[in-house]
Symmetry: D2
Subunit: 340 residues, 4 copies
């Protein structure tokens, strides 16, 4: 940690900073420049609070040298984490394909869509039983019934299922049915929920918060990892910006950036990133070209009657074409696509 | 709701839109312009899903006429909501002053700070027992012990206490001690938590999410109100932007905008908005000048040793000066300041 | 244009709106709903100022039906614009490759880099003679000398050259040397400059402003087109967001969105979007996968001594590898890459 | 400057960094920590390019210690700059009031509005002769005729006039008429224009760019100051964010932040920040409460027929009420308001 002292700080003030650094068990290293005095704290800066110095009147700014996350960083583990679930793989040269309706709306539709996406090469079925909705008056999901239907769809297709968990009180229930648990963008900093899924064995998809920096996203992954669960899949789904032509701005750069900083696999959700079916395919292609380990898309047999997210859902036949395109892109970057 | 149809849509497609509008019980009103056909849906558009139309291939865009929230809007209730708690008032010409440490760190400090802020004119004591922290390795709050200390501080000062609730599993516990429950920015769209506090009588401070639009913020208030609890206090605490000179960008315009759209009181939290003690006073002054019904500030007797948020905490003597300044500003806009 | 009237507006106020619509030569169409009265203006809404209605006390909001740009829209021209310059093509199935140093620093380096990128398949040489720099103390470009060197590099490589124009007073000079003129992000709304390049025949690359919406970007293109010059190439180069891990956030969605709205070709500049050489290749790949008609990258033989933009410049050998990768991606989306 | 070296960098690579630092005339100071080696460059870091190090493969990040601007900083000049123009003052305890129509639309209206705002206590008249408009089809200003009318309004009211300059080719013309030159938000990084006004004596209002950081804004001020003109007035006018309820998000914190970093006066433009007449007064009050040295507002006798910015223009009678309110707020913060 580097502490930049204001011009005109007294020797006493500087001594006070040195003492505080020593109290954390680190060594202080004072370097007097022409315009500013700079104090380096040598040792494990994670033990110190930057805030403890920022609150001092004589301090101009505090610069961190190390990253605040640890277990999820490349420094901690250099080789890529590869996650296997019921024979399906995420990371390690395989681009996983998660597909299915936004919400589980009923048994027939779920099994029907499940079979169709399975036949196109999907590796995981997705479907929401608990839905976070902006409006209290909108459809909130089928709850446990939805979970039971998902389990039936797994039987019918042979594919593992992924579904969202919103509330720590639902954990036992969701774990009973889900092969992969999804933490939605709005819950990326629901720290109590992260701690709970950190105690499970089930793989967790951690979506990036709508306005989360990459550092905060990795810190949320660290919450899960620090409790023991290291089967974490990061999912870029667009961030909020001033642009209103798309629902969110898909941050494609986040894919190579995160893969540089962390060993965890990264997938992309172009459906939520854009909110428009016509943009899903080009963005899925972009994500795979940029190095994503998977793509999650919403598929519905009748988007215009979907109980949620219709405008961004693909018809199965469009999904099939997209899969063919993604297969070529994956090959161009030296990977292979799910079961396609 | 206005549905703009793409140039070149067929008569059949237009008929399909009309049918769908009728299926929701609204009347369709087709208006053929030179370049576009526009269809208005006459009736209560809240019954219809915009998505149901956006998913149709022939639809260019869907424009809403009405606001998606209802109970919290000025259309529903024109006069200002005024909230009273143990003799303290929020709204209706009174600028409430919430003050106290970020976290409850111990009995002595809490009571000491409580007495000091009470003597300066604070109307509510604040202090966190459950702390949402970006890092799993940081101090997470004293939990129930912190709540008990808060209750003692209430006895010692006579001021009602406000504290944060993070997890639906803690509701019974928190309600036992708190006079006002705070929902933090990261939980603004934790819909299950909103539903739960909606079933209480305790007033709720709903902080604006880091990247929440004003519309989403009011929709979250609607979640609470739709369950029955209408004692809601909105709190602007800065939004996330590209500017890095301050932790967040305090959206002072949100105060008059929200007061125009809703009857609920709006307060401001300049401590979290800026993260810097030197900016708290000018922003608190700005908030009151812009029409805020209250201000919430962090006060600590020794900011440089605070377990959280030290850099943005005011020393009690600085808080005292700020209070004097706010009193004049409140007078200039025709209001009076808490107990000052 | 749709004008939503506030609840409680008088018949007189509504009549006043109708009159004003009529004064613009459009027909007013009043539709009284349960909660709001809505007035449609039938005719060419581009003749009316939305502001003229927004300024009225009885108006709640004004919704536009038509797009404010015309010549650059798909409504005006449905088939893709394809631009040819000295035998090189942009659009129409060809992915153009613009490459070269950020700044022209000298004759030898420019010709050397030019030959290297030409041998890898670049279709255009880029190099700045006039440099917009955040600091007045930084290198500002070689000016006319830089332009002369560019022209020499064109002779040496056979490739057309693209360079930035910053000031209307330099037009005659720049036109004398450049095959393609570049308008930088900071000048996207320098309307006087746009008007001037609109009067030329030279193709213009119009970079998207750092915080420009897609609509504003197209309006700036309309400025150029409305003066007569329709040889416009749009260039996505990242927008400003809260994320600080990259210099800008590359808005890959903008590529398919713009191609849906406009017939103009769209290229991508991953060098400026990220500011980091390690991210240039994955983003270039993403751009081509998403449908870009070209890619512009900075190449320097010694990035660590470059006078500007070193950290984001590729070494020629890295550029060569990138070109090979892009060739496969272009093939996967049914296109061919520049001269590669 | 602090250079953080990647884990695993070789001794040779570190020596190379030291050499490069020495080549700039600074001293290198290597500090080997447990996880990272950190190299400090002691001396005037403004002579070094951070880029020169960021481009090296072994460098993880580069942290600046000093601010990149100089003349406009408090380090360079500690006492506040106070600007006087024809007897009117900006800064130094006076809150200047700039008022007038967005565009000069004609002689009668300009003189009429001028007299009205003068009688309410305005200290400067504003009015645009050259208008930057998003659409090429919108009113672009009266040009020289507008400037002549402004000069007449100055005669009629005794107030100095401020007007926008958009193009370096118009400088001689504008200087002939204007007492204060305004550089609009879209031109904040039009570096050629900044250099030109830097060579004048006329005071310059430098509006903050729509997505400019405070640091970039001060760097643009440095462009002007470095050419000699130090009569610079900074103007906050809102930044672009995701929030769409207001045209821009008024960054009220920027006022105290800039006043801490720079000696230059700072004013606020609540009209452009919000785009809505109903928000102008609360935001003007907030700006003065937060420490602004002035306020610039658009006033029009008939906002609904204004050729530009009608929806955000105040009627003279509303301006009069606002002035009374601002007078009290100014007094509450120990200042006095313009001529009121």
């Amino acid at each position: 940690m580097i502490i930049v002292v204001k011009a005109g700080a007294t020797a006493e003030e500087i001594a006070q900073i040195e003492e505080r650094i020593a109290s954390y068990g680190l060594a202080a290293h004072v370097s007097r420049g022409v315009e500013r005095t700079v104090i380096g704290a040598i040792g494990d800066e994670r033990k110190m609070q930057a805030e403890a110095f920022e609150g001092m009147a004589c301090v101009e700014k505090v610069l961190r040298i190390l990253k605040p996350y640890k277990i999820v960083s490349r420094d901690f583990q250099n080789e890529d984490t590869v996650i296997s679930v019921r024979g399906q793989q995420i990371g390690g040269g395989t681009v996983a394909l998660f597909a299915g309706p936004c919400s589980v709306e009923g048994r027939a539709m779920m099994i029907d869509i499940g079979k169709q996406v399975a036949s196109c090469g999907a590796s995981f079925l997705r479907g929401g039983a608990f839905k976070p909705r902006t409006s209290p008056y909108a459809f909130q999901g089928l709850g446990e019934e939805g979970l039971r239907i998902l389990a039936e769809a797994r039987e019918a297709t042979g594919l593992p299922v992924a579904t969202e968990l919103m509330d720590p009180r639902d954990i036992d229930l969701v774990v009973r049915y889900a092969d992969v648990i999804q933490i939605g963008a709005r819950n990326m900093q629901n720290f109590r929920l992260l701690t709970e899924v950190g105690r499970l064995d089930t793989p967790v998809i951690l979506k990036r918060g709508m306005s989360a920096t990459i550092m905060e996203w990795l810190m949320s992954a660290e919450y899960i990892a620090s409790e023991g669960n290291r089967r974490i899949i990061l999912c870029e789904r667009g961030v909020r910006t001033f642009e209103s032509a798309t629902r969110n701005t898909f941050d494609v750069s986040a894919i190579p950036v995160v893969k540089g900083l962390s060993h965890l696999p990264v997938i992309a959700d172009p459906s939520h990133a854009t909110g428009q079916m016509g943009l899903v395919e080009p963005l899925a292609a972009a994500a795979v070209a940029a190095g994503a380990d998977g793509v999650m898309v919403e598929v519905h047999h009748q988007p215009e009657t979907a109980l949620s997210d219709g405008p961004q859902s693909l018809r199965p036949e469009v999904f099939r074409e997209m899969t063919a395109r993604l297969k070529s892109i994956a090959a161009a970057v030296g990977k292979r696509l799910g079961n396609a």
